[in-house]
Amino acid sequence: MSELKEIMVKGDEGLLGEHLGVFTARSTERRILRVTQDGGIVSSIMVYGLEEGKFDGVIAAVADPDDPEEPWKPRPVVITDPDEVLEAAGTKYTYCPNVSVLKEAVRSHGCERVAMVGTPCQVRAVRKAQLLPVGMRHVPDKIELLIGIICMENFPYEGLKTMVEQLCGVWMREVAKMDIGKGKFWVYTDDGEVKSIPIDETHPFEGEPCHVCTDYCAELSDLTAGSVGSPDGWSTVIVRTEKALELLEEMVEQGLLEVKSIEEVKPGLGLVEKLAQAKKNKNQKEIEERKELGLPEPGKVHEQL
């Protein structure tokens, strides 16, 4: 039995989605850790996959913090060179239409094994496209790996800008990193300043569609990564498919990932489950309220047509 299989534990599938196991991990490569959000899991997988030829293209979000017009506004890109992956590292707390370039990756980039990282809604969109590839001809079988990220809610760009510039008092172009953790939204500036606001104050700026989403852990992905449940600098990884497990095992064997049982660390899997339950409860309530008003139920619109 591999090292990974030994330390993997299973959580509540009703909250985390179907999975083979959960563990906590971080990259062992300094060049990756220097630029990534937490454990650098997503970046590591992408670099490894591209270098080993497991993927011939990955879709990720790249943001330019120094863009004079819209600093930190991410745009989706198709990356075929492993050296470019690190440019896309780090979380951007705003929408980035990754699915929009999926077809382009298969067409004008000629990719045949695409990996994509996305929020739970984007992962769902891709799985739907695989089931019913309207406007996505030849795309479904070219998707090699879907990496989901744990997501409570997302902010439209203008909302994020308001939070950073007006509530935290930092210009967007001075921001070095953004983070959500310990009940706060954190902003780190280029010259070492740290600002934060309570998470409650960010709620007005959330995207409207996020309020009817009950998917916290990207339940349809091949694997999910996120900081929740793991200590600083580590990431919680939920493995869902054999394909993803195999890839991760290879990476552990080659010493690219350092892994630990999630039971050994604080705050642990319990927090992930707690927050997943919170998201499901809160948004299910919103869905019920909307149904009462006669509004369409998300994901069930077709049944009413």
């Binding site: 011939d56 293209g57 198709v78 075929t80 077809k103 382009e104 067409r107 004008s108 980039h109 000629g110 990719c111 001809r137 030849h138």
Partner: protein, 386 residues
Amino acid sequence: MSEQVEIQPTTRHEGHGKLVLYVDDEGYVERAFYLNTSAIRGFEAMAKGRPAEFVQVAVMRICGICQATHGTASAEAFERAMGIEPPRDGRLLRELCALGNRIQSHVLHQLLVLDDFVEEEKEKVEAIKRIQQIRKIGQYVVDVVGGEGIHPPNIRIGGMAENISESARKRLYRRLREARELMEEQHEFMREIVERFAEENDLDLDEFGRHDQPFMATHPTYGDPERLDLDRVVEVLPIEYYGEEHKEEAYEHNGQIPLYDGVPVEVGPRSRYVVFDGVDPRGVLYIHILRSQETLAAIDRCLNILEELNTSGKTLAEWEPRAGTGVGVHEAPRGTNVHIATVNEKGIVEDYRIIAASTWNFPVVEKAIEGEHQEYAEVIMRCYDI
């Protein structure tokens, strides 16, 4: 005393047609009518009053097999009407996209005619497998370059919407090399089965299905309006062409009949070879051989384009609407495809004319059938990819 024979619908070709033959006592065709029974859809009328960008996309829907050529001819027509110069790489990609379509369309026709020449199951299956492999690669080219295999959206007024990546270029190159090998085999096969057919049926390859109509082509791989003198083109109604005495047939033919210098002209693979290579193969079965030879040439041209292409070059010109009239010509797999557009200063289409590639050949098919035995009527018709 001549007898009338009707074949409807004619099968194993891409469009819809009907053959009316007047045959003599021995079964030889004295007079043939090849009638286009596709319903009239009114694309020309639909285009009027609509923006050029819409029309260029809409006209691709004329045909589901041969869409790239309609998109290209239309874009060319609008570019000439409004004085737009597409960038070099845009032109190259557009040519590449349409050639990918030509590759798949040409071999698709070889699949359709297979039953005319081959009886043995095993031989047929092998040929079909090979054909489908080549078609797949042709479609892959359109997929990657055009953005979609059917009705490629990347073809735009002003060039192509997107360039391809360097890795896509390498991949296309590799796959086209594969296609070339398969096509060489396929070319040999086509030559073999056509010659065998002629031998078995005691037909003279040079005389069978001969006609004396002129040939027309504008470019070996792309299309050149400079070589098409529109003053010499006239489109007539079937009733004008066939005359009152054949009004029953004339009324069944949908659409107009284009004539060059007042007579029907042949377009398509054989015409392109006659005009640009100076060969003169008169027997109709040669079209099959030339079609597969042209597919090989198309693959070679694709490989050349990929070598010439700059994958980081600009592919789409910016443009402002301007009043004018322009002619776009593209050599479709089936022949010379002509679109003529008139736009006003806001870029709204005021007049639109289409002479689709197949329409030129309808009266030519009749000439080729006349004089041959009625049992070969469909075989001759299928030499033309209509």
